[in-house]
Symmetry: D2
Subunit: 292 residues, 4 copies
């Protein structure tokens, strides 16, 4: 029996890149990214002997992220991730696989006297996700959502569940359903109209949350994933992590008041946590276990 | 020389109240609040002797917040704060002053097949603030913004500043200016069309940020406050806290690349912090030091 | 009626300074600080006209913090704050008052084969606070605590409080009392054995929390402040902000179990918030409203 | 091609359980836990049809966590996790696998007049981790650390790395090395003296961080894992996630000052992220991909 090195990788996390594209001196586009790079390959020597000949410093990875934001037009996050991932594998012989994870924070133009302002914005909520894996085993692109909080105030039931001596929850035919969506959807290929695909998948996912009469958050999860796959032929799998942000009806009866689904306490912890995958039955497993 | 009790107050902080108003079984309004109550008065006995006869439990304050959300239509946050503050002073002889602080988190309806969905939303960014002080010294209402992040990618200079042996900053005629706005605006009176006033003040404040050619964040701060007061006769003072979220132009010259205002690093810490008041010259001081 | 500039100040917040003192190549001391500087003075021209001739860039303030950490031995945080504050007022004619706020994060040496390791540490919890105000109105030093969480599992009662139609809380003769201490204590003078004073005041404050039989958190607050002042002649005022971190006894009766003060749910929000000052009756008000 | 349900699980996350053990009315022990449960099994019907007959409400999971904290003496977190995991699989036919994740927050007794106080504590830093997987595929226990921040101020070099056109980092023979340790170590069996094993593994891990002369954080990672396995026969694998919290030497030369490894800026983002496994060569893969 010996002690050995197992799977490993390393990189630079959370490079905060803001890219301004100047169409004219006053008409700009804004792109606000959080980019993380993680590389793996033949890195035994640094672990076992502190020999760094095969190591690209994480400082260099940061430099590449910034440099690649400059010398080409900045494309969709999926494409930008592909360019970065391919660079790391192509340029460095010791690296066989690169993962690039990107979050894009949305901004909306400030309404000004003559319409949306050409170079001033307010930050909107949530984030768009892209994840790229590229290496000897192939290339894979995921898109998705991060921290997109949604709520519906009716159209959600929960009953018929298993009961035992530890059950105190009462069945309900009308509850608030709220969650913060973490979604990953895996593309069939490595080329697409990324922006159009993202917007369409996001819209069908959120609309399905809104329009599905829910009997369980699990059912809603499956419906959201199924609707995206049914609508988007370029996608093969949807992975969702849905914390159930409980809204508890406040008991106002001690004060002689009814509370027919109107006044809720929004609880912090604990929360339910529902995780699941929806996929086409003819696809292989993801190169990196989802979600990441 | 003796040791004595000084100023004191106590309350319940961050009551998370979500109010659903059901116009029909499926057409709803949503109001998502974070309410904090703080009371002061004749509370010496609890501090000095642990005699709680004058103490309203903070648990009771929470109950009042929820109960008042039920038995009347939920008004604007300023009005809701006034109702709560007046109740605490009126109902409890030991209490002479109440402060109520409210944050309202915005939600937008999910776009569905037939337009905005009647009972499903996504959470938007930032928050609306209201603060009410009510007591023997009078009644005062503030409105404002919390965590509203704005950025402009040009129209901002910074030069002509004092230099000495510790100066390394270079003057610039074009920089990114970004800040997370914490704003408080104090009303002249205690009645107003709160929603209309809020929306108008917010819009003029953000528009002024966008449209002011900035020579310093201090100048932008003053312009934002002045514009609000010039536009809104019902307001007497504006107080702003503006962290300067530095965006640092990345030096790409080691890679043979120019970077003419395109690629920035968004820094976390340290950050500049600019604080100031703009007010009418004929008003008295605020009942509680702003901002709170 | 005119619109005018009110009180204002500006500075650099959260300069993260880590200072290593090398007694020998391998025997080191570590000092981990978070330093914020805020200046006020004759700054009308920058606000009103964007004329920055009187403005020291916040970048310069950061440089001063780092430079002052180098060219002298690093003293106690109170003394380091005094040096910084005096520099800003002395060196810059436009500045009449400086505030410096410091948090020191504690580290403890890792136990190694031959005792505490000479240059390796783990981070401990909480922080030591120091705040200095220096200007035309005088000079003032506060010390204190930030984020020091304490809990006692008995020796805390709460009953005899006011009841009304909104009361649901039941009186208790035994509850868990937990809070995260934010403490500021104001010194009489501007010279002291800062480290000894800090340690003594902290110890008496925490010991008083532990040893006071509590009838209300307000009573505990007063006892903590009073004990510090009774013990430390160099201190004039104690200001405390004590969130009441509620621990709720879980109702296990549905499962046929007793729960005699053993199993608690630690709640996040809402929380009680108790704020108060304890002071000597012969001192004047603080130069800057506490706590800051 | 059909759309199907993939891997899924659900549970209750972050149950905040504080357990007081009363040896006498005033002599107590404190155990502060954050418990998350996640179950998987035959849950197709709830996803596909909203039929919840196989679903144990997450509310019930919370109840079980609290109930199990009461009716037996509270054991080590690993054992408590085993009891919970076994209950969920044994009691509910639809569940074939349970994961339980526990964090234990440390507290230290407040020093009082007569020694450590019998029922008052301050919160210490970091957390102890335990993770249990139990099901048809077997039973597995991990122990570990969460948020344990360590720093060494010398004994760390980094040079000999690959360079290219994007390299700006200079090699160094003396740098600050700081990281926040997330560690998981997998046990060979499902019975052990959990507390003794945890303390010994933690101590050897931290001591190895301190005493290893580091040529790369990867080398330190491997050394930490190897030392734990060499010392603890009951352990089979160590998994580490080590963010490299960069401390950047401040350039004081513009102010005419040297800075020979004394004054550092502690940066927030980006950070390096080093992940790796160290394991015995005769063990099988973990039941759930580490770390979780």
């Amino acid at each position: 029996m010996a002690i050995v090195l197992g799977p490993n990788r390393y990189g630079k996390a959370e490079v905060r890149l803001v890219r301004v594209t100047r169409h004219t001196p006053t008409e700009h586009e804004l792109c606000d990214l959080n980019v993380s790079v993680s590389l793996s390959g033949d890195l035994d020597r640094t672990h076992l002997a502190g020999d760094n000949a095969a190591v690209i410093p994480t400082d260099t990875m940061r430099a590449v992220v910034y440099a690649f934001a400059q010398d080409r037009p900045l494309p969709a996050v999926e494409e930008f991730g592909l360019r970065l991932a391919r660079h790391f594998v192509d340029a460095y012989p010791s690296i066989d696989t690169a993962r690039v994870r990107l979050l894009e924070y949305p901004w909306v133009r400030i309404p000004a006297a003559n319409g949306p302002h050409p170079h001033a914005w307010t930050r909107a909520s949530g984030a768009r996700y892209a994840g790229v894996v590229h290496g000897a085993a192939g290339t894979e692109v995921c898109s998705g959502l991060e921290d997109v909080t949604v709520l519906k105030s009716t159209g959600s039931e929960f009953h018929g569940f298993m009961t035992d001596r530890y059950t105190t929850l009462r069945p309900t035919e009308d509850r608030v359903l709220a969650t913060s969506v973490q979604a990953r959807w895996r593309h069939v290929g490595v080329a697409a109209d990324w922006d159009a695909s993202f917007l369409a998948a996001r819209d069908v996912m959120l609309r399905t949350f809104a329009e599905t009469h829910s009997l369980a958050l699990q059912q809603t999860l499956y419906a959201m994933g199924e609707a995206v796959l049914a609508d988007r032929a370029e996608l093969a799998e949807v992975r969702l992590v849905l914390p159930n942000r409980h809204h508890v009806l406040v008991d106002l009866s001690p004060f002689g008041q009814d509370n027919a689904g109107e006044v809720y306490h929004a609880a912090d912890r604990p929360y339910g946590l529902i995780e699941g995958a929806v996929l086409r039955d003819d696809i292989g497993p993801a190169l990196a276990e989802l979600p990441w």
